[in-house]
């Protein structure tokens, strides 16, 4: 979208040898070529990415990027089961230096498992040190531990379950599934307004409580959150699966499977 427009502008500037790689960065990665990420990006997402020190645990002990997991490059293909269920997880590999050619085959392997965001850190560990990035020394984790970055307005599963259990006065659980779905079972104390009726039934909701929306998967809960926020309500949504079977609540698996 942007590249053809840029190409047209460049032609106006008088450039004569213009080409457009129209399929762009996603196609580059899909073809198994690594994309480079920056120390800035890693610093911003620290804690919410899978950061792999490919030099392996022994080398990493002398100093590694904060939060990294140490897995030797040649062992990564054997560790598929360790990688998060969430295929949209951000995965960043680094070496001592950029080492594109060395890391490329492993990037290709990880991408082939279905991961959409696999990157190589530009500059590697040395580059990280140059920008005064946070490091750790000593024993390095060898098992991947991944927490996804929460969306704005998202409530985490633990807090949601706590509200279900304690039913605090200042919170209201709003079930935005269809009435047919809700008739099969609802969370105790929750109110059901299907999301497609919500805009017209806002007057049924209290302005002085925080409204926590949920549905079956999280999709409609987010839509309801949008409606509530636009109307000036205090709200959050549960971006997780919910099932009520024989009056028992089954919920919040995201934290477990990640």
């Amino acid at each position: 979208m942007l590249s053809p427009m840029a190409a047209r502008l460049a032609a106006k500037y008088g450039y004569t040898n213009i080409r457009v790689y129209h399929v762009g960065a996603p196609a580059w990665a899909q073809a198994g070529h690594p994309l480079l990420t920056t120390t800035d990006f890693v610093r911003k997402r620290l804690g919410f990415i899978v950061l792999v020190d490919t030099r392996g645990p022994e080398k990493a002990e002398k100093g590694y990027i904060q939060g990294a997991v140490g897995i030797r490059l040649k062992d990564i293909p054997l560790e598929k089961n360790q990688f998060p269920m969430d295929r949209k997880a951000y995965i960043v590999l680094y070496s001592q230096k950029t080492n594109l050619s060395g890391l490329a085959p492993v990037v290709k392997t990880i991408s082939s498992w279905g991961y959409k965001h696999v990157f190589v850190l530009d500059g590697g560990y040395d580059g990280w040190l140059k920008t005064d990035g946070a490091i750790q020394k000593g024993l390095v984790r060898t098992k991947i531990f991944y927490i996804p970055r929460p969306h704005p307005g998202e409530i985490v599963g633990d807090e949601f379950m706590n509200i279900v259990a304690t039913r605090p006065k200042g919170k209201l659980i709003l079930d935005v599934r269809t009435t047919a779905e809700a008739s099969m079972g609802m969370i105790d104390g929750a109110v059901n307004i299907p999301v497609d009726e919500l805009q017209g039934r806002l007057n049924e909701l209290p302005k002085n409580k925080e409204i926590i929306t949920h549905c079956r998967t999280g999709l409609r809960a987010e839509m309801a959150y949008t409606i509530l926020r636009n109307a000036g309500f205090k709200a959050r949504f549960l971006n997780d699966k919910v099932a009520i079977i024989e009056n028992k609540l089954f919920c919040c698996y995201k934290a477990l499977i990640r």
Binding site: P4, A6, H117
Partner: protein, 199 residues
């Protein structure tokens, strides 16, 4: 012909506005909430068009028969019906985030109902300008000096920071006129642009 089209749209829009104007309808009133600023770069006419939304398609719920549109960081919900016409993609199902869309709506009670959803059409690039992955990979392996090229990432700076093609430089399209000096001095040298892929 173009003017006629715009005029018809505006007229049609005005007609709808007069028919559907219940005071309680929660329609987005200010332009800021209706149209994403980015869209306005090329679509000045959006300023005068009534009852449209323009932004990025975010998500769709089949059960709620609704779509979410991202507008200047905020969100708007619009319902759709079997009568909603869809342009440039086969149907609502084929809308994939984050494709830019324009929604023509009418207010029904408290809801916005889409009459027409127009997806941004693919931009045409002359065949001889297109570059294949293999060709670019060969150049990147050589490097800009040996390969004799300048590779420009036209996406926003944040996308470049997240993950860019090796050897590329970041010149976000909206900032291109200001960053002209980063382009090569030799106007006959090979200049390659890429972005997040054309939709």
């Amino acid at each position: 012909m173009r003017y006629l089209k715009t005029a018809t749209f505006t007229l049609f829009g005005l007609m709808i506005l007069f028919v559907w104007q219940p005071a309680w309808a929660k329609a987005p009133s200010t332009l800021d909430k209706r149209v994403t600023k980015k869209c306005m770069n090329c679509h000045k006419e959006y300023k005068t068009m009534k009852d449209i939304l323009a932004g990025e398609f975010k998500s769709r719920s089949r059960k709620a028969k609704s779509i979410q549109v991202k507008i200047n960081g905020g969100m708007q919900l619009v319902k759709y019906t079997p009568e909603t016409s869809v342009k440039n993609v086969p149907n609502v199902k084929a809308l994939k985030a984050p494709i830019p869309i324009r929604v023509h709506y009418r207010k029904v009670g408290n809801d916005l109902v889409a009459t027409k959803i127009v997806a941004k059409p693919k931009m045409k690039v002359p065949e001889k300008q297109l570059m294949k992955t293999e060709e670019l990979a060969r150049l990147v392996a050589l490097g800009p000096k040996k390969g004799g090229y300048t590779l420009v990432d036209s996406r926003p700076g944040i996308k470049f920071a997240e993950g860019h093609i090796p050897t590329s430089i970041s010149i976000p399209f909206p900032k291109m006129s200001k960053m002209k000096d980063r382009l090569p001095k030799d106007k006959n040298s090979l200049l390659i642009f890429y972005c997040g892929g054309m939709r």
